[in-house]
């Protein structure tokens, strides 16, 4: 788990970019590190949590994590925060003023772009924060650079009195490459908070005086970029196309065109415009290969460089790979695109789905069976409720958006939606991240919204991290635990409209939701069953299907539990002449944890604990579930 943490100087270790960054943050003498989990950046703080001589925390959201890092910087310590790309949208309110104040102790923000959207609601190019926030951006291509550049970022931050963004992508965060460790933890302190309202209190009169400082810093940062060794070029014997690239795309270019000249940008904002112009002038054709948007390309074109291509031959979104770049180059030079590849076979899709015995299965079974509801969803595992078999989630925008969207649907509805109930579905961690304000807004503005608060006591989607909802901190120590019923009451929900339910008691969940959606005032239905991936979940012995009794009703399949599979199908003709499709099922007893949800809709009542079966030749109930093998 912690190769970099345990490594000695001189040792070579195989680590992910996230792990390399954690090591560098620790070496830099950083005192405070904070983050809210988010793919692909989550592991940075998980690794930092292993270092006992640094304060590291799960913050309730990214804005808070940046503000915590700012506080650490103000008292003369080094501060760090990490987030996924959309996290910086949340934190940007703080960033846009932090850039005016500047820093005391070095302050580094690691931002990870989920290029290709493996687990995000959008795709963003965080390099643009450089221009918008007037801050430098460093952009590593692999774990070694992530380690090196994170170290440098702290020095840069203090040298230029600015926060520094280390921009990552999934292929840096999650790829493991070998790094050489060369540092131990440094002592760092600039000594105490110096009260200075003209510097730290950003009222208009003060902030106005900081704008010229920011403009001057922009110039210095731009000059520094021209000579920074992170920006370098390599010559090549094949000069038919030269490349300008950054991040992991550099590795793909080197793989696909090892003989070609290439300019590698590591200090990505401000871009080294003169050096790039000089490079481009030496070659006939230059291709800018950047993930994901045409930032460098646009800057160069604006600077009058004419022999460059980029997004005219390369895709506007998604990951660039050696293949993709080769295809783009073929288009650029007008070469025929040949392929001796074996064609891909069409195979059924295998979308991510909820886990075996997931406590969200019951509530979604209930939602799927309800008519005349609009369901505003949110960000988390329960977003999967939009998929099969539930199809019970109608919107997903951003963290906490279910609250505002549901209220807006309620207030904005016309006659077409008059008889619809507005339901918002949100998880515990998302509610604490950005949902609380939305609920307060619902009660304050007297909206008619039923909130389904799926408290599974973990940040499930990112791997079950702790949060204030389960009362454990990053290090797994017990701390203050929020009481959701009290919290929502304090936010203005009437006590009788706060209903706690057991997510596995399907009839109760359904009845409660039906009652609350009929009442025209805000109500909150709270589940409290833990995520099956966390320690609080207590698996029971597996269930099995008494195959002779299964009548093929298929109701259990509608729970969506992946432990249930079909063994055979039949079509029968009913007395009324209609055809009915039957699906006879079995339960994979090696993964079932006996939650019992599927027994509730089972028409012939033929699902039982395996322990009651008489003919057990061997006990498979001790087999651990598939879900915990990683």
């Amino acid at each position: 788990m912690a190769a970099a943490q345990q490594a000695q100087i001189g040792q070579k270790v195989l680590v992910s970019g996230n792990e390399a960054i954690a090591r560098a943050v620790w070496e830099a003498g950083t005192k405070v590190a904070a983050a809210y989990p988010g793919t692909p950046a989550t592991e940075i703080l998980e690794y930092l949590g292993l270092y006992s001589d640094i304060y590291s925390e799960w913050s309730v959201n990214e804005k808070v994590s940046l503000e915590v890092a700012i506080g650490a910087s103000l008292v003369g310590s080094r501060g760090f925060c990490a987030m996924k790309h959309v996290g910086l949208n949340v934190a940007s309110d703080a960033l846009m003023t932090l850039t005016l104040t500047g820093v005391h102790g070095g302050l580094v923000i690691a931002v990870a772009d989920d290029v290709g959207l493996s687990s995000s609601q959008n795709e963003q190019d965080s390099r643009f924060w450089g221009r918008f926030a007037h801050v430098p951006i460093l952009e590593p291509a692999d774990s070694q650079e992530a380690y090196d550049m994170t170290r440098m970022a702290f020095e840069l931050s203090e040298q230029f009195n600015t926060p520094v963004i280390v921009r990552l992508t999934t292929r840096v965060c999650h790829v493991k490459t070998t790094i050489a460790i060369y540092g131990e933890r440094e002592a760092f302190s600039l000594g105490g908070f110096a009260k200075d309202p003209a510097r730290w209190v950003m009222v208009p009169t003060v902030a106005r005086t900081r704008l010229p400082f920011q403009a001057k810093r922009d110039l210095k940062l731009a000059q520094y970029s021209e000579t920074n060794p992170l920006n370098f070029s390599l010559s090549g014997v094949d000069e038919s196309v030269a490349f300008i690239t950054s991040g992991p795309a550099f590795m793909h270019v080197q793989e696909a065109f090892p003989q070609s000249p290439v300019f590698k940008i590591g200090y990505s904002w401000p871009i080294p415009i003169s050096a790039l112009k000089n490079f481009a002038s030496q070659y006939e054709k230059v291709l800018v290969v950047e993930e994901t948007e045409a930032l460098v390309e646009t800057e160069l074109k604006a600077a009058g460089v004419e022999n460059i291509s980029g997004k005219d031959v390369l895709p506007l979104h998604g990951e660039l790979t050696p293949d993709v770049i080769k295809y783009g180059v073929a288009k650029l030079i007008g070469a025929p695109i040949t392929s001796n590849l074996i064609p891909a076979q069409q195979v059924f899709p295998r979308p991510p789905t909820m886990c075996v015995a997931c406590p969200h299965l019951g509530p979604y079974f209930a939602l799927a069976s309800m008519r005349n509801i609009h369901i505003a969803g949110d960000i988390g595992c329960y977003t999967l409720g939009a998929g099969q078999p539930w199809n019970a989630l109608d919107t997903c925008i951003s963290m906490g958006a279910s609250m505002g969207v549901a209220l807006g649907m309620d207030k904005g509805r016309g006659p077409e939606d008059e008889n619809k109930a507005m339901v918002a579905v949100i998880g515990d961690s998302t509610f604490l991240h950005m949902g609380m304000q939305g609920l307060l807004n619902i009660t304050y503005n007297q909206g008619n919204v039923t909130i389904l608060l799926l408290d599974n006591r973990a940040v499930g989607m990112t791997g079950g991290q702790n949060n204030p909802g389960n009362g454990m901190n990053l290090q797994g120590e017990q701390t203050n635990r929020v009481d959701f019923a009290k919290l929502v009451e304090a936010l203005g929900v009437a006590p009788e409209r706060i209903r706690k339910v057991n997510a596995y008691e399907l009839p109760v969940v359904l009845k409660t939701l039906r009652e609350e959606t009929k009442i025209k005032q805000p109500s909150v239905v709270i589940t409290g069953n833990p995520c099956v991936l966390v320690d609080a979940y207590q698996p029971k012995g597996p269930l099995y299907v008494m195959e002779n009794d299964c009548n093929g009703c298929g109701n259990c399949l509608d729970t969506g539990c992946p432990a249930i599979s079909v063994t055979r199908r039949e079509t029968v003709v009913k007395p009324n002449g209609r055809e009915k499709k039957l699906a006879f099922v079995t339960i994979d007893t090696s993964v079932c944890t006996g939650c019992g949800l599927c027994t509730k809709p089972c028409a012939p009542d033929c699902i039982q604990p395996l322990s009651l079966r008489g003919d057990l030749s061997k006990d498979v109930s001790t087999s651990p579930s598939l879900g915990d093998s990683q």
Partner: protein
């Protein structure tokens, strides 16, 4: 010429695909290779498709294997082998756990599980071994051992010894869980034997 070995490990979230790739990468690292390992596992723990790629040699640039350039495809599930077979070289080695895991969309009747996946895979004419690694693991009493069985299966298709790979597996718990050493050795050797006999027949 820079010789790089490209191994692709595929399966379903929760099967141990990433751990298997990790062990392969570690084994290469211990021989002082330059190593890169990457995966696409967005919401892997949620039963989705997981692919992990391991590349090693004197110098590795991109972590990504180019389509059609994998030397070995190690698939933890039958249909996943079919999904990714085009990533292999024409003479690449295909090792398949022929256990079938149907996702909910198949169980709901929205899609069909491919009927002749193994025949389709064989028709590629590559060196191939397909056997039920899940059954072997369950026989040994723990479905998690699939991982070790599959690593045994790939052992003969690597540029280093099977013993070197096995040592990398058992060293992970020799200290912490010594009782698992013998069990994993058995799983590894059963996987190795199952695949070796089939590969020998092809060649």
């Amino acid at each position: 010429m820079n010789e790089v070995t490209n191994i692709m490990v595929v399966g379903i979230g929760g099967q141990g695909v990433m751990t298997a790739a990790e062990i392969l990468a570690d084994a290469a690292l211990r021989l002082d290779h330059d190593v890169k390992k990457t995966e696409v596992a967005g919401m892997a723990q949620r039963g989705g498709v997981v692919t992990s790629q391991v590349r090693f040699g004197a110098c590795v640039k991109s972590p990504v294997i180019i389509e059609g350039q994998a030397d070995v495809l190690l698939s933890f599930e039958q249909a996943e082998a079919l999904r990714w077979q085009h990533w292999l070289k024409a003479d690449g080695v295909l090792l398949v756990n022929d256990n079938q895991l149907a996702p909910p969309v198949v169980n709901l009747g929205l899609f069909d599980y491919p009927e002749n996946a193994l025949a389709a895979l064989h028709s590629g004419g590559r060196p191939m071994s397909a056997f039920n690694a899940t059954a072997i693991a369950l026989e040994l009493g723990n479905v998690k051992l699939v991982n070790t069985v599959m690593l045994g299966a790939v052992a003969e298709a690597l540029p280093f010894s099977a013993e070197h790979l096995l040592e990398g597996i058992v060293s992970r718990f020799r200290q912490s869980k010594p009782h698992l050493v013998a069990l994993n050795e058995r799983a590894f050797n059963l996987g190795r034997a199952a695949s070796a006999s089939q590969l020998a027949r092809v060649s």
